[in-house]
Symmetry: C2
Subunit: 603 residues, 2 copies
Amino acid sequence: LARAKKLRRLVVKHGWKEEDRRIAAELIGEPLPYALHEGMFLKTLLEQGTDEQRKLFYERAEKYEIIGCYAQTELGHGSNVRGLETTATWNADDKTFTLHSPYLTASKWWIGTLGRTANYAAVMAQLIVDGKSCGPHPFVVQIRDLKTHLPLDNIHIGDIGPKFGYNTMDNGFLLFNKVKIPHVSMLARFSRVDPKTNQYIRPSSPSLVYGTLTWIRSTIVMHAGAALAKGVTIAVRYCAIRRQFRDMDAPDSVVEEMPVLNYTLVQYRLLPLLAATFGLHFTGKAMMELYQENQKSMQANAGKGDLLPDLHAMSCGLKALASYTAAEGLEVCRRACGGHGYSSFSGVGGFYADYVPTTTWEGDNYMLTQQVARYLLKSARAVLNGESTSNDTTNFLTTFRSRSDSAPVFDVLNFDADLVQAFAWRAASMTFDALKKRDDQKMAWNDLLVDFYRLSKAHSQYLVVKNFFESLSALQTAGSLGTETPAVFRKLFQLYTLHTLDSESSDFLLSGAVTVRQIEQSRTTIMRLMKEIRPHAVRLVDAWGISDFQLDSSLGRYDGKVYEDMFHRASELNPLNGITIDSNPNSDVLFRSVGGENVKSKL
Amino acid sequence: LARAKKLRRLVVKHGWKEEDRRIAAELIGEPLPYALHEGMFLKTLLEQGTDEQRKLFYERAEKYEIIGCYAQTELGHGSNVRGLETTATWNADDKTFTLHSPYLTASKWWIGTLGRTANYAAVMAQLIVDGKSCGPHPFVVQIRDLKTHLPLDNIHIGDIGPKFGYNTMDNGFLLFNKVKIPHVSMLARFSRVDPKTNQYIRPSSPSLVYGTLTWIRSTIVMHAGAALAKGVTIAVRYCAIRRQFRDMDAPDSVVEEMPVLNYTLVQYRLLPLLAATFGLHFTGKAMMELYQENQKSMQANAGKGDLLPDLHAMSCGLKALASYTAAEGLEVCRRACGGHGYSSFSGVGGFYADYVPTTTWEGDNYMLTQQVARYLLKSARAVLNGESTSNDTTNFLTTFRSRSDSAPVFDVLNFDADLVQAFAWRAASMTFDALKKRDDQKMAWNDLLVDFYRLSKAHSQYLVVKNFFESLSALQTAGSLGTETPAVFRKLFQLYTLHTLDSESSDFLLSGAVTVRQIEQSRTTIMRLMKEIRPHAVRLVDAWGISDFQLDSSLGRYDGKVYEDMFHRASELNPLNGITIDSNPNSDVLFRSVGGENVKSKL
């Protein structure tokens, strides 16, 4: 909190813009207690408030006169927003709402910034008008006294306790005991209760709300590459410094140990991740461009965006794939650092723990895959019925239909474009398989979830491969990078793509996109590519230019002074070393002396 | 430390045996600072000390008059013990050794119990006699004053700082600046320096040292099933309680949400792990029995054990597979708990962080796979040359050789014995492939490490499948469990095995053990098996009888009172909730009040 306050004061003092603030917060490198105020609370007020409500709440919040949080998730309800139990009942008599938590499971839970910091909350609650439920809606409510910071009457708030990562954020809980709030508290830009007629008025265009979630997921895709890049930088640099064992085939005259990055088994863990980082980066960029394009088309067409269904499905599938890849990848990087990966000085462990919730929030990665499958099934039905509009998805589905009788031959080891085609083929084949099971065999939705999960992954991997390929082609055409760099990028593309193909080989084999022999050969090609990429590995991560300050890692230092820094932090900076304890089990004394004389150094 | 002291005093007070102490330590459920004294220090003194040294050191250590640690790993050296840099130079003049750390990278590092607790250390150092290095040997040396607990002169000790997990253990570092120690300090049961002749005397039987490591790895295999069982118990119980969304195909009249364990995508993540727990358990048991058998045979044959190479390879490969399965599985269990999996009250996150170093210590999981490959290559060469003794490994290799021309047909979907055969076939095929690459194509060892890694995994998975199958057959023959329980176990065996087969399908396809069509069908069978196992899932984990005290989890409670317990811990037990902060960014005050009045509850 102290850091968050300091940051806010710097923003005011120097007149930083939102972009500057975001960069500064990123540099601090840990979740800050104002984050949900700045992210969700302000955004909700701005997007869902009327002009009057913006004046009343947003303007004060923007100046930090009030500090808010966004209270949606409940103890018993996460993914299923429609199942929320907190109620907001309209009182026709006095034109107020009553907020109430009828069960323990209705406690708002996990709410960032709520635990200790916020004095306001945007609360999602089931609106009840005239005894009928109108679904969840947002309400703004004061929860703590602005002077004493104590909870208001009939409001029970607290911090939910320690977590796996993210412990600098005060996630909290919140219960209401019949708290009355005025009519103006319901954010009414899209739907509202008419105080005169006591009627509920529906939103005109629900797709606008849709848009915000799509935006958040797109940023997660964009950010995943950057998060993984941190871990890859640390692991690649340290493995280039660290030596262990002599080469098994080296002549006896060689006494020097090998840098561990020269071992193919270490390369096999790290270099595909190095390649994935680029794939995620290009995909995130393409995703953001599509988002902007859709925003423009929506403004031009009065809120109707043709791209929205594609964008929504893409953002769901890629959010799941990208955050999974980054989270798993960070843990692989940490373990590739050997024993020292477990030290907090590695800079990877804590960062992993702070990153990994990304796989669960803004749509659980497993849940989201149903959205992708639903979209692909719908597209496939349209293709079958000849009703489809032309876009990339319907195109690859149509191609598959037209060629599925003649067994295709994709020359995945010699032509990069064929590699992309093979990924499209696999996704299309799995789409029609799933459609047959659902529409022809009438299989239960629940019995298809594993198929849907695989399908979503296949489709998202196709998107990454396609975007990676197209971005490289554009770079090559532009010619600004010369010839050598694009050649290395091309190898990274092949490594990422063949490595994915090998990992998912059964899907590819079942769809007939490749043969068993090609899988075998792709393994040989992967070994060759790694050997070719190895000499560039350190320069590639250096090129990202992530500063030592951001990495906060002894192992990933740019200057390679790994052991000096480890020793300095352990021996000089570690406060534990000022303490002398009593280790005799028969003594009740635990601490003999704390601080004072320098007890450790006697050299 | 306070807990460790208390435990030791209870041991003395009640006269507990070693077995009792181990159970009590297990119940405490966190790493204790005496652990390395009790595990490694005492064991080293007992096994490697002469009678005189046992009297001098072991007897005092056993009474906790001295507390020791085992100092092997160095800042710059982990896996490669021969590369250690700490030296112990024999001084012929005064019959002493000089311990010295010539470089910063020679600092002993990660040494458990050393950071704050130990006053003695068993130090592995390069013995130098007459200018020649004789390799690493163990020395016992006092490092802290027994009264003041301050480090002795010319010894630099400290704690290495915070870690990813395992923070209740005081891992430390240690440097020597030319510290003289007497002749008796070198543990001399196997090799020694003769003080009269100043000659180094080699160990007679190095395989005895081998034995200890094998034993440690065997216990890791045994323990992996138990560790995973904790995570599976928590996740299965919570997913049976937690409800989210209605079934997509349910009629509108159904308003109740479904327990998430009914979703096939949740089952797909948890039930194979439930099955794996049993597989690991039976394998660990078989491994321990083999270890005992080998010990007997070694005693009968004056230290020569025919089983030792098998046992060594098996312990390496299974240690890697089992600890990997348990570590990954725990993280899958945590994430299957959704948002609440991130709460410390889930009981999984911290346990994962404490468990995951198991994948790195006692032989890094990746490094170890080379040992397995070396053993399999050697066995395959023996088979080719007709020189092999008959054991399970040479048997399956011989079978493969004799049948590899006639394409085998394993009916993996209908006969469990065929499933086991298919796993053996894959391992044999990969062994001969690797042998061809190494011996015929003369490929570099380093270029084969990825193949060796795959080979080791294939062989270890075969061992788990085989032991699982044989244990079930024995159970069925014994008949003591009736018929229903073995039938459920049989389904668990099939689920584990087919799930593994699907995950590793390219290996199986490349070896010709199964067809693409069989892979496709196995996916359908997996869905059917999960549906059949689901009704038994909660009873299966309940049958393990892990107490609520051991689980220490709101989510995994036996009585299912998940939300009540979450709320109680957050609202009543969380000390943060006694603190009122000042969230105004313009105020320098952070804490308004700490403790005192009950500030949160106003209901």
